[in-house]
């Protein structure tokens, strides 16, 4: 064991020196390798962060949402239904929710108008809280400039902006306008005591199935959407985009693998001579392979580290400037926010598998070929 470790140390030492000697060739390789890792890592971290972000937001939303259907289409739900739902066992809280979309003809953007679920916002009539995308879309000159919008009925309405949302979870709040219930009803011309839908909080998540069954009996016309349904939809959306990126990047990885194999097999005369010498003076094929594996390992490690770190900075400090258009979609209101840093083991393992494994596979045969040089060749 001690011998083994020391032998590895000699091999690593020699390899490092050899890498330094062929600085130019290896720098090129490492740069390209790092770029590949960088692109893939950025895409993966970005979509994982979005996914995570969506998860955080969803964690705050009620377990079950109940919508009224009329002829299969979404309708306003009367407040009387709240009572029925609250009567079911296992239900912790029931709340009518008010929200709707609004098309802003000034700049062609869609806003989400919403009455906040929890009362802690304490919005007074005439006040609004805005997502940070709205000020941008409207070219607000200062943060709390009043918001003027034209209601459906053609009335011009003015809201004083109390605050804009802080950056966390901006993904889902960018286009959000929070207003008071009274404003909401008058803006959209709604009768009292109807809601967009009803949010149901449930004590034990395992009971959702039973509760939905019971609720279906009381409200045969309603649609029930569970939080996990929504979560699934989100996950799929993000996964799909990320997968697409990866599939595109696969071409890049393949090209890189070919390039790496080429590099590894096109030994310079100098390098071939070195290997010949080593073999003649008593290095075994296994020693040379181990040395070359050290070389590959050091290169991979360096490139993996560099690519990952730069991707991390790119995604979490520069909002993935290079990829936003592809991954976020093509909305007019463009969320511009710092993603909460988030990476996990699966991501890193996957990244490792799709970059280091192809590189290693592509270089193994050339390495072996170089290592099996005839030891007597240096005699000539």
């Amino acid at each position: 064991m001690k011998h083994w470790l020391r032998r590895q140390r000699y091999l690593a030492d020699f390899t490092l020196a050899a890498l330094a000697r062929r600085r130019v060739k290896n720098t090129g390789l490492i740069v390209i390798y790092s770029i590949i890792v960088f692109v893939l890592a950025s895409a993966m971290m970005f979509s994982a962060a979005l996914r995570h972000e969506a998860g955080t937001v969803l964690a705050k939303s009620p377990e079950l949402i109940v919508q009224q259907l009329v002829m299969g289409r979404h309708e306003m739900i009367p407040g009387s239904e709240i009572e029925k739902l609250a009567g079911i066992r296992g239900v912790a809280a029931v709340k009518g929710r008010l929200w709707g979309y609004f098309y802003d003809s000034v700049n062609g953007a869609n806003y989400t108008f919403m009455v906040p679920d929890d009362d802690s916002y304490d919005l007074q009539p005439g006040e609004a809280i805005l997502g940070e995308g709205i000020g941008k879309a409207r070219d607000f000159t200062w943060d709390t400039a009043p918001l003027f919008v034209t209601s459906l009925a053609g009335k011009m309405v003015k809201f004083t902006v109390r605050e804009t949302f802080a950056d966390d979870s901006a993904l889902l709040t960018a286009d959000l306008v929070l207003i008071s219930e009274a404003d909401f009803r008058s803006f959209f011309d709604l009768p009292p005591d109807v809601y967009t839908d009803i949010g149901v909080s449930i004590r034990n998540e395992r009971e959702i199935g039973t509760i939905v069954q019971k609720a279906q009996l009381v409200m045969p016309n309603a649609r029930f959407v569970t939080r996990s349904d929504i979560e699934r939809t989100y996950q799929r959306l993000f996964d799909w985009r990320e997968g697409l990126m990866t599939a595109l990047a696969a071409a890049g990885v393949l090209a890189f693998a070919i390039f790496a194999a080429e590099k590894a097999s096109g030994l310079s005369a100098e390098e071939a001579r070195e290997i010949g010498i080593l073999k003649a003076i008593g290095w075994d094929t296994g020693d040379v392979i181990a040395m070359k594996l050290w070389e590959g390992g050091l290169i991979s490690f360096g490139a993996f580290l560099a690519g990952t770190v730069f991707a991390y900075i790119h995604v979490f400090s520069f909002q993935a400037g290079l990829f936003e258009p592809i991954l976020k979609g093509w909305a007019v209101i463009y969320p511009d926010f710092a993603l909460a840093p988030y990476i996990d083991g699966l991501q890193l393992a996957t990244l490792f598998a799709i970059t280091v494994i192809p590189y290693t596979a592509a270089t193994l045969v050339p390495i072996w070929r170089a290592a099996t040089a005839d030891p007597d060749q240096v005699m000539r």
Binding site: K2, H3, W4, L5, R6, R7, R9, Y10, L11, F14, A17, R21, E270, R273, E274, G276, I277, L278, K279, A280, I281, G282, W283, D284, T285, G286, D287, D374, P375, D376, V378, M379, R380
Partner: protein
Amino acid sequence: MISLKNVSKLYNEGRPNEVCAAQDIDLELARNKVTVLTGPSGSGKTTLLSMIGCLTRPTTGRVFVDGAMVSGLPEKFQTELRRTKFGFVFQRFNLIRGVSVIENVMLPAAPLGPEYHELRERAQSRLERLGLGAKADMPIEFLSGGETQRAAIARALINDAPVLIADEPTANLDTVLTERFLEIVGELQSEGKTVVMTSHDPRIWQSSHVNTVVRMQDGRIIGVDA
């Protein structure tokens, strides 16, 4: 110490450009003797030397080192044998450029995994003995021809191998350096080492340090002068 029985070596076996570089060779090399292989260019000296030093396997015939047959061994064991039994000095010295003198000297020991400081001291003592102690940390390419050769000898001695093998060691050296080389060979012999080398340099095979001269032609031994 080393004996070859009916050894032949074919290159490019079975192809139209087949060459028989050594043919039916029987040879005994005694312990603690200096042997020189000589003969015209292309006569198979280098080929024979690499079979003696386990660098190549003979196509047919057997090679014994210390009574054990080594010719049928897999490459891995030939390598193991090579690093414990033989030290090599090549015609073009074959030191690795860009690496310091002492590290070049240490290289043959690396796969054995010795303790680093111990190995370094060992290398330093070899270099000092050959008068290169002060140049240990210089890059190898800064050394002069004679110094390079002595560095190569130091490398050959690092594993304390009992046999030194040298292919045309003096081909690039002037008379003074050749003399110096022969002195070193004499010293090694007096320490109990066995030396085998090739040369077509009369200064070598006429030297008093040499015990046996093996003459070769067309891949065969045509005479042994003891």
